[in-house]
Subunit: 414 residues, 4 copies
């Protein structure tokens, strides 16, 4: 262990488990540590301060450990200067490019720290030729010759602002982060999510919904429509299926062959689905279908009428698809990124694919709630490192119904 570097960190290091994770990671990465200084906070409102020296076999290993510890808010006493290398080809990063987290990040090119725009994980950091600004960029978008930050020198990851200290009086919302389970007081959870949405709206931030077609199959389309009309959905990310089933159920009163008002199958269900898509293709787009009076209700209609953004990105299993759907997934990701500014809260309902896609591009600081009857979806999202992810395992149909009941005055299914 001949190579070493000293880092410092400050904060609620013990009761938040931060320092335990730091020590854990050093060993996980085959390093060693010496605690040089530990000033413990005497009471639970006091911060602690730690200085520790990390050592490993090679300088590269030390550097990787440091990069890792940065995600916990540990920063080198001597931060160094960012190394820049040109991208060797369009769509290719230099081999040792710095791979981003979804936390706010800064780089240091000379004496000063500069913010990196657009926190997004698994990207590179691109610096303008005049070195006046830096931003994250996915590998597919880099151009040959653009300057890419390489190695971990001169990069600082800013930890999330601490959640309010835990106390019997503090917000009850946090508890949901303690793992996921279907055995929770669900009516209470709905109310807490409603409360959070009201706060977000009051702050003037946008609410992003990411949804799957089960919203329509479970009869929750009317609830979501009401929430859109009431202003509780500013941006919607979805696939072809949500929009197509929503439109099908409004053109034909069915979704995948289930008559939503009566609950039983109707003639030639699948056929309705592809006919609905063909109809909108005839109109030209969903907005034109609304304008032409073809589409008169439902989720998509409400989005068009309320001039809300939606981004529909296609998938390999799509029929049609609808004319509004991005069939190129990389273009779809770009459109999703473009719709993120201003989003202060994300709710993801009944879609693993689009939830993970959104989790990939969402900054860690945006709180998100994932709602699904399938625990795997909810767990997977949390595993992707979305620090603010909260999972609710419940029934989509009843969840949306009750959320609308909480947020929309006079909401009552007919």
């Amino acid at each position: 262990m001949e190579h070493a570097k000293t880092v410092e960190l400050r904060g609620h290091l013990i009761d938040q488990g931060v320092f335990a994770r730091v020590m854990d990671d050093v060993l996980e990465y085959s390093g060693a540590y010496t605690i040089d200084r530990f000033d413990v906070g005497r009471h639970h409102t006091d911060e602690s301060y730690v200085q520790l020296t990390v050592s490993a076999e090679t300088p590269e290993q030390v550097e990787r450990i440091i990069m890792r510890l940065q995600t916990h808010g540990a920063n080198p006493l001597d931060p160094g200067i960012a190394v820049l290398k040109p991208a060797p080809r369009d769509g290719v990063f230099p081999e040792d490019f710095y791979s981003t987290t979804n936390f706010d990040t800064q780089i240091r090119l000379n004496g000063n720290w500069m913010d990196v725009e657009n926190s997004e994980m698994d990207c590179g950091i691109i610096v303008t030729e005049d070195r006046s600004s830096a931003k994250t960029l996915p590998v597919s978008d880099v151009k040959e010759g653009e300057l890419v930050v390489c190695g971990g020198e001169g990069v600082k990851v800013l930890p999330l602002p601490e959640p309010e200290r835990k106390s019997p009086e503090s917000s009850n919302f946090e508890f949901m982060s303690g793992g996921v389970s279907s055995e929770r007081p669900q009516a209470l959870q709905v109310r807490q999510i409603a409360e959070r949405m009201r706060e977000v709206k009051a702050r003037g931030e946008k609410i992003l919904w990411v949804g799957g077609p089960a919203i329509v199959h479970t009869g929750a389309g009317k609830a979501l429509e009401a929430l859109i009309n009431e202003g509780y959905a500013d941006v919607v990310f979805a696939g072809n299926a949500l929009a197509a089933h929503d439109i099908e159920s409004n053109l034909f009163g069915t979704s995948l062959g289930v008559d939503l008002d009566k609950g039983h199958g109707v003639p030639h269900g699948h056929e309705h689905h592809i006919r609905a898509i063909n109809k909108i293709r005839t109109c030209g787009s969903i907005a034109e279908a609304v304008e032409q009076g073809v589409l008169k209700g439902g989720i998509m209609h409400a989005l068009v009428k309320n001039k809300k953004d939606f981004v529909l990105v296609g998938s390999v299993r799509d029929d049609g698809p609808l004319p509004d759907v991005y069939t190129d997934v990389i273009e779809g990701q770009r459109a999703m990124r473009a719709a993120l500014p201003g989003v202060g809260f994300a709710i993801m309902v009944a879609t693993m694919l689009h939830s993970i896609a959104t989790g990939n591009i969402l900054p860690a600081k945006v709180p998100l709630v994932s709602v699904d009857i399938n625990p795997a979806t909810v767990t997977k999202l949390a595993d992707r490192g979305s620090a603010q992810a909260i999972g609710v395992i419940t029934d989509i149909g009843l969840f949306c119904e009750q959320l609308a009941g909480e947020l929309v005055v006079g909401y009552k299914r007919d």
Copy 2:
């Protein structure tokens, strides 16, 4: 295939799939058939009539096939006379005893058919010494020397009355039987179940609830309490856990360490659980705890106050248990059987163990709804041959909340 016997059956044999199952079963049991006569109904309201001869290698095989076909309503042209043999020992049936289904059954001792009391599956049929009456009996309850029907001769299984013919105008309730899925219009399902409960109550029949502790964990205890007070639960079957968590949450405001009003953990959760049980043991029983003013709210309190029946049967995982719990499961089953008369509808919520136990003793003619977030529970119940089983895969907390909203005027969680 030297041995043969002819059976006849009448009804909506094709569109209900009955005849397909008959033919299927003959082959499944290694037999063969010849269709002697087939009078097909010309329109969908007409009945059909079939006579077919079943053959197999041995007379025993023929007899087993006939026994099987009886469950579809096929009866031998020549029904025969029931064979009676004495039980060789307490708790033991003769080797070739007739094993019952949960359909209504008749036996023929001389010229006339006699009803068998208490349809219950996997039992024997016991005939009184004077041969004046017959009833089902589980093997554990038979006494040495009691007369037991053996073989399938002289036994007739009555098929369920046909559900209303399928038509666009008929009740929508049926559709749920078409498999189980979480992707259903759930709010609609709740309303249909509520409607069915109103009908059952209007007919003066009892509603049986079978429930697991998740009712309490998901915060649905208040909804169930309201439903009991409103008369929508006449009998409750459960285990120690439902009652203990309900009582715990009412004595201490917690269930398994979750503060139900705030949603977060409270001091020493598990301890509360066993303390609640000890408290009721100190009082002597749940009813005495209510009388002594110790227990002032919750599901069990509502049952006591409204003088409703409840049967709590223990399981090997129980703490305590509460003094009202049957620790002997066979005695528990007897108590459950004793509470069944008058039950016209059964709803099973969040418990695989007690749901299957109830499914075992419930006559096939009692409609039952199984509600669980876990598809396996719902599917398993259907697989046990409960012909009237309807499965709803949804969230327990929200389900009970909405059911109370439908059935209890002015119901609103505080």
Copy 3:
């Protein structure tokens, strides 16, 4: 019910449940029927013959019912002549286009029936200008002016050849179609699937694998690699994730941060993932990475080395992606269709997205097995109308391990 039409059907109509479904569908579609003739087969090897007249309120309704009944093999006594209309625009069908099933289909333009090429569901049927041939086409691929079959006149759907008659001696494979359950004799199922694969290979047909990244996460990559080398995978459909995790685990020995040989996490897991993708982007393609000696093992390496086809189609959640990935999903679908000829068996493992995508384009006559630990995936595939779908709910890792053990002589994990 003033409008009517007579259809006939022949086959094992009762024991296969075909006729029950026919009657069911007529009522479901708000029609009525009269059975004009019913010649029942006397023994279970005899076919039956039915003639029935379907009536409904409008001629359109009658036509829709007939279209529906065709999927059961019922054909009009008077089949009519197919109506052709030109596509009004690129990517748009005429409003009343005939929407295909995935069964073999024929159309009748004048006196003779002509095969429709490429059975695929939810498509239109396009006829060449000289009316010499017809093929299915997805709506996105139709060009303005192309002739599209409209309405159900002159269209005949050929039912699947009947499976071998059910008998105690017949193949055991069928049983799996009887619903899905994790409670099956799994080791036996694996052996039956292996047996089926040997038969397919012996017939010179191709085996299609559709796989998700869990194959790599569960350590099953080596088993699949061995199966590819042994010739049990001719075509692979997957997404960016399977390929990227496979390549990552071969370049870095990890998959999503799990060290596959030791089973515990390694430094900066996610980073490895995006670095692996960047590495292949640097090489230009997976094949070039193999050629340059960069990629030396794993699933993708085995596919390249054995010159097997693979189609990777992107999704909105992709990182990178790998240079071989179709980022346009419609182009990806086209590439998948192009790889289907010759496929005689499809096995879908651990991917709902690509399984459904494949189910959408696969003719109904190709048998498919869906393997997943999540019952929802398996059920959903069956619900999409894939008539030959067989579901196995089991663990992917152990499944592939045992399949390789059955099919690859001397297979033993090191």
Copy 4:
């Protein structure tokens, strides 16, 4: 916060997260703390030492917090003397009885600490009249007048011995404790469990199996039989169902109507089940059925032949039951407790009910593995505070097959 008490703790307090949990719990219990002293270990092999003063509104609250912190190994500087009160009635503890954890515990009656026999959670601690020994006792077994420890004074909970320090070289087994997931390298997990079983056997400790009927349904009975014969199962806890289905499949070749060798249904499945039970009731017991040559193979046969202990405890859903089944669940629990001494490893397969029952009575120091295809079972067990619980979500049939392949030389299914 006028009442206070000082505790000390020593060990790897930070990297194991112990101290974070201590601080967390103080706040959770509405207390406050002051860190009086904190000597941090400089390297990861050094222990730390903390002294902190806990304060709360009332002395009772302080006491409860202290009781809670004891589970983390924190002990009061001044431990106090245990308070003893007589049980007020048979089966009832004094109101403020000390409720046990499943950790090793000591009490102090005068100057010295005395071990409490039989660590088991949710029990009371009973002291002999001469105060020479102490043991845990479930509430149902206490007799009026027996001395019961009340309050937390004079009680010390001993933390588990620390697992080996985490390092790249250490045992890989631990990793599984990091949450449960079906996306793990499963073949590897099986091998690690096999390795652990060999170690346990080599130490002369017993292996406890807790199993559900799915072992038989999934065709894993033969694998378990082989493991019993090879000495890898010393004690089996199960219910009526496992034994009955095992016996049914050996008497009739079926389990719940599934022919296990062919995989398809056989005549009158359910009937076989109850006939098998009646047969054993005729014999008198399972052992007598083996002796009389009636039962010639299977799990239960292997247990009898190898003179291994088994405890079958009934449940309310049982048919029959078999004569060996404890129908009284409290007696069943006693029989299970009596079979625990010497058990050094527990494996729980496909049974939530018996797994939790066993988890309730098992000391925390016995490592346990829970195997189920249903994540809920595995998660629930971990939630019950079983500190050594490891969850494997996989297919039971393939799991047992591969485990037998690892442990039984020449094991090969015929």
